[in-house]
């Protein structure tokens, strides 16, 4: 009696599962809020497709994709050639939204937004620009009375796409940073204190007088934090917001494989410390239902999905990138 009941339950379970297409994805934590919103909304429109996304970090996403345990990955940093070579099938990159990283600080007696040149930021994080009233900072902030206090540098201690974007910008603008440190999710910091997560950096900066750190734009907006303007490639000091980040994405020359860094972009309204985040999708998907579901999901995310980004403080993709991506979707076999 009990056995037959169990068998019945099993049959019911299998039946309910077979009508559904399950997609599993894993990777970056930065886009997790928008992805979970998207996948939830998409499920409402397509009740037969269930998408499960785990924010285990970009590195983990790439590894899981390589191991074949997920249907798609997600990363805040495009995969390099070596990583692509290790994958069993070719992997396509699809930018989904853009984000930015902003300098945040706590300087005694300074209430207004400060201007930072790339040289000043590189110098501070290299440990060469040591004091707040150093000429590198003072020159960009005429009329601001900066204290002579020592700058306490705060950076992320955990491996993070935020750190990648920040160090990528410093590498592009400072040859010295490029040769001494380089860019990556974890680097060998020449100076400063490490704190875990955006909240760790923000907490330490808030508490430590005369400190300077960097956090994601979204985190800064949500927590009403003061953050500085950064000088872009056109020489203008730009405050990061959703439109200046989208402007950076629109100004960048995007190659056919979408593996591109958009830091220090050319446009005159472009915020210079911005980046895409990518979905990583294998170019061959054997299961026809899964393939169809992924293609539908991508098209939807690039269309109606883009309208949901602002509410969660992500910068939408510019139209030139969207149309280029819509064409590239046909590469999924």
């Amino acid at each position: 009696m009990r056995t037959s009941l169990l068998a019945l339950c099993l049959i019911a379970l299998v039946a309910s599962a077979s009508g559904q297409t399950m997609l599993n994805g894993a990777g970056a934590t930065f886009p997790y809020p928008i992805y979970s919103k998207w996948f939830d909304e998409f499920h409402k429109l397509h009740p037969d497709v269930q998408i499960n996304y785990q924010a285990i970090g970009s590195g983990g996403g790439i590894r899981q994709l390589e191991a074949g345990t997920v249907d798609f990955g997600a990363s805040d940093q495009p995969m390099n050639d070596e990583q692509l070579k290790k994958q069993k099938t070719a992997v396509l990159h699809f930018p989904t939204v853009a984000g930015a990283v902003v300098p945040t600080y706590n300087v005694t007696g300074v209430a207004r937004d400060l201007n930072f040149t790339p040289e000043a930021l590189a110098g501070i994080f290299l440990g060469q620009v040591k004091n707040w009233n150093a000429p590198e900072i003072a020159k960009a902030n005429p009329g601001v009375k900066l204290p002579s206090a020592e700058i306490v540098v705060v950076h992320r201690s955990d491996g993070s796409g935020t750190t990648f974007i920040w160090t990528d910008f410093l590498s592009k603008t400072s040859p010295e940073w490029k040769s001494a440190v380089g860019s990556g999710t974890s680097v060998n910091w020449p100076a400063g204190l490490g704190a875990k997560g955006n909240e760790g950096v923000a907490g330490l900066v808030k508490q430590t007088p005369n400190s300077l750190g960097y956090v994601e734009l979204i985190y800064a907006i949500q927590n009403d934090m003061a953050y500085g303007r950064v000088r872009n490639a056109a020489g203008k000091f730009i405050k990061a917001d959703l439109s200046s980040v989208t402007a950076a994405a629109a100004a960048a020359k995007v190659p056919d494989d979408f593996r591109v860094s958009i830091t220090n972009a050319e446009g005159k309204d472009a915020y210079p410390i911005a980046s895409f985040t990518w979905l990583l999708i294998p170019d061959k998907i054997d299961d026809a239902k899964k393939k169809e579901a992924i293609v539908e999901m991508l098209k939807w995310a690039l269309g109606p999905g883009q309208k949901m980004t602002a509410a969660l403080h992500y910068a939408a993709l510019p139209s030139n990138v969207v149309s280029k991506e819509l064409k590239a979707i046909s590469k999924i076999q």
Binding site: S4, A7, S58, G60, D158, G182, G184, G194
Partner: protein
């Protein structure tokens, strides 16, 4: 499909019934079962070590012994040395013990020997509650309460009075090795207090009475008779606490400053093995980086073995010296 399943289930049920029958009557089955459970511990340990060993192959071959002496940790350049992390782990644990052992032992003596039983029980309950607090809570308390206190009050005081010693020469960020040690010390206290208290309470009454009978004061009886008698329990509480300190991750990483430099000053930021693994593991996309992090896990395992070995030696040495022991 249903029939063989039922047969299998019936067979299994029969087997289980037979086993229970044998367990009720014979010792043999009980011995086997107990031995199997006991075997899980060494098997799990061996599996853990082989896994760590195999997965760290890339880093072990590339760096060899220099992994232990290298001071540079550069994931971009692919250069990995563990010394700053080993140093940070050992120094925070030892300083934490230096703070927690006198405090914890004093509290245990008070609770076991001096406090009225009802107060003792109530206080012990509160202290044991401390052990159940998740470490991230200690980390948060560290960031919001201890770090400002260290920066505004404790560290300036230390630098002013003892600043001539390299140990207290600054810099004063609030976060750093000393702050991490203080947070750890608070986390270790419940282990030391509750186990030491049990050990003290287990000392037979006649030991105390004998000491008092030959004319010693109450404090002399405690310090010269009861504590030495209970020293095995006290030592094991200290080493249990040490093991906890070596592996503590979250609370340490939140207040240590996460900077892999070896500095003479306790106020300077540092880094620990467990912290760097937790910090960098999820985003380690490079194989060598991942392999180096796994080798760090192996190093942490080695460290705990070394400290546990020392504990054994210490226990042996104290028991061999004779006098009273349980």
């Amino acid at each position: 499909m249903a029939a063989p399943t039922a047969g299998l289930a019936g067979g299994a049920a029969g087997w289980v019934r037979a086993l229970i029958g044998r367990l009720k009557t014979g010792d043999a089955a009980a011995h086997t079962a107990a031995a199997m459970f006991a075997a899980i511990i060494p098997v799990a340990t061996v599996l853990l070590v082989t896994e760590l060993w195999n997965r760290s192959a890339l880093a072990r071959h590339k760096f060899g012994f220099s992994f232990f002496t290298g001071q540079v940790w550069d994931p971009i350049a692919g250069q990995f040395g563990a010394l700053p992390f080993i140093y940070g782990t050992v120094i925070t644990s030892l300083v934490a013990l230096l703070i927690a052992v006198p405090l914890g032992l004093g509290a245990a003596i008070f609770l076991a020997e001096m406090a009225p039983p009802r107060i003792s029980d109530a206080l012990t309950f509160v202290i044991e509650l401390l052990a159940a607090v998740p470490s991230v809570i200690f980390g948060l308390l560290g960031i919001f309460v201890l770090v400002p206190f260290m920066r505004e009050v404790a560290q300036p005081f230390l630098m002013k009075t003892l600043g001539y010693l390299p140990l207290f020469s600054g810099p004063n960020y609030g976060v750093g090795v000393l702050t991490a040690s203080v947070v750890l010390a608070i986390m270790l206290l419940p282990f030391i207090v509750s186990i030491s208290r049990e050990a003290l309470l287990a000392v037979p009454r006649d030991q105390r009475e004998a000491a008092l009978a030959v004319g010693s004061t109450r404090w002399e009886a405690v310090s010269k008779v009861v504590v030495p008698y209970a020293r095995l329990g006290i030592i094991s509480s200290v080493f249990l606490a040490l093991a906890r300190a070596l592996g503590e991750t979250m609370a340490v990483t939140m207040v240590i400053g996460n900077n892999p430099k070896i500095s003479a000053s306790l106020l300077a930021p540092g880094y620990s093995i467990a912290s760097v693994i937790a910090n960098e593991f999820t985003e380690a996309t490079d194989d060598l980086h991942l392999s180096a992090l796994i080798e760090l896990g192996l190093v942490l395992f080695l460290l705990t073995i070394v400290f546990n070995g020392l504990a054994r030696l210490m226990v042996l040495a104290t028991t061999r010296r004779g006098t009273a022991h349980p």
